[in-house]
């Protein structure tokens, strides 16, 4: 037994002998995943932008209020025919390797984004790019595209030093990325940590933090415990019920910046029972979305009264004339002449926050109006494949799906209801088509008249709220928790930190 006691004692000694307390100018972030690859043009997983975009910066920024503000691109003009945009880059900016940032560097990076990014479709409308001066880039589009500048706010559109890319090659940029941001890349140990250090030559001024470390904590319980134990200073993806508990701990603070992610249930309008609009409306009427938000999300989510994310440009709740009304739901079902309405919902557990509980709640609400909803849980990869099938092969009747506006404009959230976006070409899993809607979509994307465009966006929402090709449920919250002394973190609505330039620890 003596050796056992000695061994245990040794473990204790090793355990207690000091860890240096984390320096107050180093921020340690606990993320749900590791950054898959430190190259924003190849990035996946919105939240990874929190780390990547401290090194590489965007052209324009999307604020949590859904507004676009100039960033590396300082100003812009649109030609009279609406097809040419001239972007003026901010002067006096250098990449951290000394390469100047100018129109040519911008063109080079936009080309790279259009070649490599999974989000390259965001700039699919671009026809040509031409450097018109040291700081001027002329971009022409196939047709006038009103939300063009908003699209530049998509957060995988960033710039890296062209000199560095040419030096290390497209395939190896992730080993030594060089950007214009407030922090410089130090290392990325896969699965372990990313380390960044302050860029004291940053054009916006010296950052207050000296270093940023990001570590993956895939288990949400372990992630919260890492914050509570002081191992990390800031964590992402806190479950709503836990948020309330963490907020009560005096050393911690919880932040819920607005999020652009919305949760819908696509209803396949080419199959029974959802061919009939009355059934789709009845199901919407039967679900108490406010109660779901209050009870399952502890008030952190936002019930949707339009398809778009609350707060996105063009969002309006004035066409939600249905609301929660189970009696009217029963009446509509009766009017439809269908009895014993039964359908199957496809759902991927764990993909979206608390979606399992939401699905159970919906099952309960529908039961009250006599509708049976069966649930088929599929792992995300399997679900993606099933739902990507074209209309004639697509067996899914209803699918719970998360979508978002990537540019703060509701257009980016609802354009997929255009019939050109039927799966598998786009993400319209409702296989719904209305000529008026298609016409309005083409009009609002092309018009130069801001007022008429807004009217078109409103009318599109009015049509969607009446036709219900999908059930608009709620806007998913993004929940962060941090040490209370951490100040100055700037978020964006795409589930990520916009900038840590101004972040610091209060004494």
């Amino acid at each position: 037994m003596r050796w056992l006691v000695v061994a245990l004692a040794a473990v204790m000694v090793v355990a207690v002998v000091g860890t240096a307390p984390a320096s107050k100018d180093t921020l340690v972030i606990g993320m749900p995943t590791d950054v898959p690859i430190f190259d924003t043009h190849k990035a996946t997983g919105l939240h990874n932008g929190s780390i990547l975009n401290q090194v590489s910066e965007p052209l324009v920024r999307l604020t949590t209020e859904g507004k676009i503000v100039p960033w590396l691109v300082e100003s812009w003009e649109q030609s009279k025919d609406g097809k040419t945009w001239t972007l003026h880059t901010r002067k006096g900016i250098k990449f951290t390797d000394g390469t100047p940032f100018n129109a040519e560097a911008l063109r080079f990076n936009l080309e790279r984004f259009r070649r490599l990014s999974i989000g390259k479709a965001t700039l699919a409308m671009v026809k040509t790019m031409e450097v018109a001066g040291e700081h001027d880039l002329k971009i022409t589009t196939e047709a006038p595209f009103a939300p063009f500048i908003n699209s530049l706010g998509y957060h995988w559109i960033v710039v890296y030093s062209p000199t560095q890319i040419q030096k290390v090659g497209d395939d190896n940029l992730h080993t030594a990325p060089v950007g214009t941001g407030p922090f410089k890349f130090v290392h990325h140990k896969r699965g372990q940590e990313v380390r960044l250090e302050a860029n004291d030559q940053y054009w916006g001024g010296k950052p207050k933090l000296r270093a940023i470390v990001s570590r993956p904590y895939p288990d949400q319980g372990a992630r919260m415990l890492a914050l509570e134990s002081g191992d990390v200073d800031l964590i992402f993806h806190v479950p709503p019920q836990e948020a309330a508990r963490l907020a009560k701990i005096s050393a911690l603070a919880v932040s819920t910046p607005p999020s652009a992610r919305v949760i819908w249930i696509y209803l396949n309008t080419q199959r029974d029972p959802f061919k009939d609009k009355r059934v789709r409306q009845a199901i919407y009427l039967a679900i108490d979305r406010e109660a779901i938000v209050k009870n399952i999300f502890a008030g952190t989510a936002k019930a949707l009264h339009s398809p778009g994310p609350v707060g996105s440009y063009g969002y309006t709740d004035k066409y939600d004339t249905l609301g929660y009304n189970p009696e009217r739901a029963k009446q509509l079902l009766k009017d439809s002449g269908l009895s014993n309405v039964t359908f199957t919902l496809h759902h991927s557990p764990g993909r979206y926050l608390l979606s399992g509980q939401v699905v159970e709640a919906i099952q309960g609400y529908l039961k009250q109006v006599g509708v049976t909803m069966r649930v088929t849980d599929l792992e995300w990869g399997a679900l993606s494949q099933l739902t990507a099938q074209p209309v004639e092969k697509n067996q899914a009747q209803a699918v719970l799906f998360g979508w978002r506006s990537v540019n703060g404009d509701i257009d980016s959230a609802i354009q997929d209801f255009g019939s050109a976006f039927w799966r598998p070409k786009g993400n319209n899993g409702s296989f719904w088509k209305r000529e008026e809607y298609d016409r309005l979509l083409t009009f609002e994307q092309g018009t130069l008249d801001g007022k008429k465009r807004l009217e078109a966006l409103y009318r599109m929402q009015e049509i969607l709220m009446d036709e219900m090709p999908a059930l608009w449920l709620y806007g998913e919250p993004q929940i962060w928790a941090a040490k209370r002394t951490l100040k100055g973190v700037e978020w964006n609505p795409l589930e990520s930190i916009q900038s840590l330039h101004a972040a610091y620890f209060e004494d």
Binding site: M1, L4, A7, V11, M12, V14, A15, V16, T19, T33, D34, P36, I37, K42, T44, I118, G119, K120, A121, T122, D171, H174, K189, R190, G191, Q192, E193, R215, P216, Y217, P218, D219, G221, A222, L225, A226, E228, S229, G230, D231, L378, E379, W380, G381, A382, S384, Q385, L386, A388, G402, W403, P424, K425, G426, N427
Partner: protein, 329 residues
């Protein structure tokens, strides 16, 4: 441990250490040779199974924005449209040249990352097996010697708890106790030996239960045998009787379980690595599966399989070391 007896009967005398006879070498070579078809079969199974699971790596990588064109480009880039035998032949050709391909998710080579991850998992599994052996054999020994006392009941109850506690739960409890409340150890991650303590204990406790039960029953059987009575009658101190005579003879089945446990620990590491954010193979495999990252899944499973083949071989060899009667002639 008692010195080994002279060279095994029938084995030619040679410059080898007495316990590593030519016959033993032949056994090792034979087992290694049978390992090759095993690994080949594993590679074919994994290759087929990852492609049978619904889900398309190109579509997953392309993400929510995926248009058909993007998905098609990705499929072409990763040659996912080639006939399966062609894909397998290309894969096997690579493996034979020490190239496990490139990860679809990150476009980086699989082998260097897998090697690093495997060493991490190995580090965790070895530490866990040490914990498991120390606690398991220790507890089994004590409860056999103090049979039917309160100590025995306590040790048995603890063993049962160890076997039946899920790692994701015990792991979180350990973090809560040692990281959050006592602030002794880090809650997860890597960087120092201190980071290894909690995951190793958590994973080790899982294996300790099985070992404790095996040691206890083995010891009880041996303690009732004649040579133990003889040893006691000779007046040997009880400590020597138990450790030197009884325990060594009770160890053979324990070693079998230990080898078996090692394989299980590699599997259990998947959960432990997730809870403790340990960047090992388990987490690599989980990420690879959810991304349908075929080359990464194939590589990881192949390495796991090779490790299990090797461990089984080591177990077989260690029988011979522990008991001359089972040495190959």
């Amino acid at each position: 441990m008692a010195p080994n007896p002279p060279a095994a009967r029938g084995a030619p005398a040679g410059p080898w250490h007495p316990s590593i006879s030519l016959a033993m070498l032949r056994l090792i070579a034979g087992r290694l040779a049978t390992g090759i078809p095993t690994l080949l079969a594993v590679s074919i199974c994994v290759f087929a199974i990852v492609r049978l699971i619904p889900g398309d790596p190109a579509r997953l990588l392309a993400g929510d924005f995926a248009t058909d064109q993007i998905v098609d480009d990705l499929r072409a880039r990763w040659r996912l449209n080639d006939p399966l035998p062609v894909q397998y032949a290309a894969y096997l050709g690579g493996v034979l040249h020490g190239d496990l391909g490139r990860s679809i998710a990150t476009s980086t080579p699989v082998l260097p990352e897998l090697t690093e991850r495997f060493l991490r998992t190995l580090q965790l599994a070895v530490a866990a097996i040490v914990v498991a052996a120390a606690i398991g054999i220790g507890a089994g020994l004590v409860s056999a010697v103090r049979r039917a006392t309160i100590i025995d009941h306590l040790a048995t109850a603890l063993a049962l708890t160890g076997v039946s506690t899920p790692i994701f739960w015990s792991g979180l409890i350990l973090i809560l106790l040692f990281s959050v409340t006592l602030e002794w150890l880090p809650a997860g991650g890597t960087g120092s030996p201190r980071h290894l303590v909690l995951p190793a204990v958590s994973l080790g406790l899982f294996g300790a239960g099985v070992l404790a039960r095996q040691t206890r029953s083995g010891m009880l059987e041996v303690l009732g045998q004649d040579f133990v009575r003889t040893a006691r009658a000779k007046g040997l101190p009880e400590r020597l009787v138990v450790i030197k005579h009884a325990l060594k003879n009770a160890l053979i089945p324990v070693v079998t379980v230990l080898g078996d446990q090692f394989g299980r620990l590699l599997g259990g590491a998947i959960l432990t690595e997730t809870v403790f954010s340990w960047p090992g193979m388990g987490r690599y495999l989980i990420d690879a599966i959810s991304q349908r990252d075929y080359p990464a899944v194939q590589g990881a499973i192949l390495v796991f399989a090779a490790a299990v083949v090797l461990i089984n071989l080591l177990v077989d060899v260690s029988y011979g070391v522990l008991d001359p009667r089972v040495r190959p002639e």
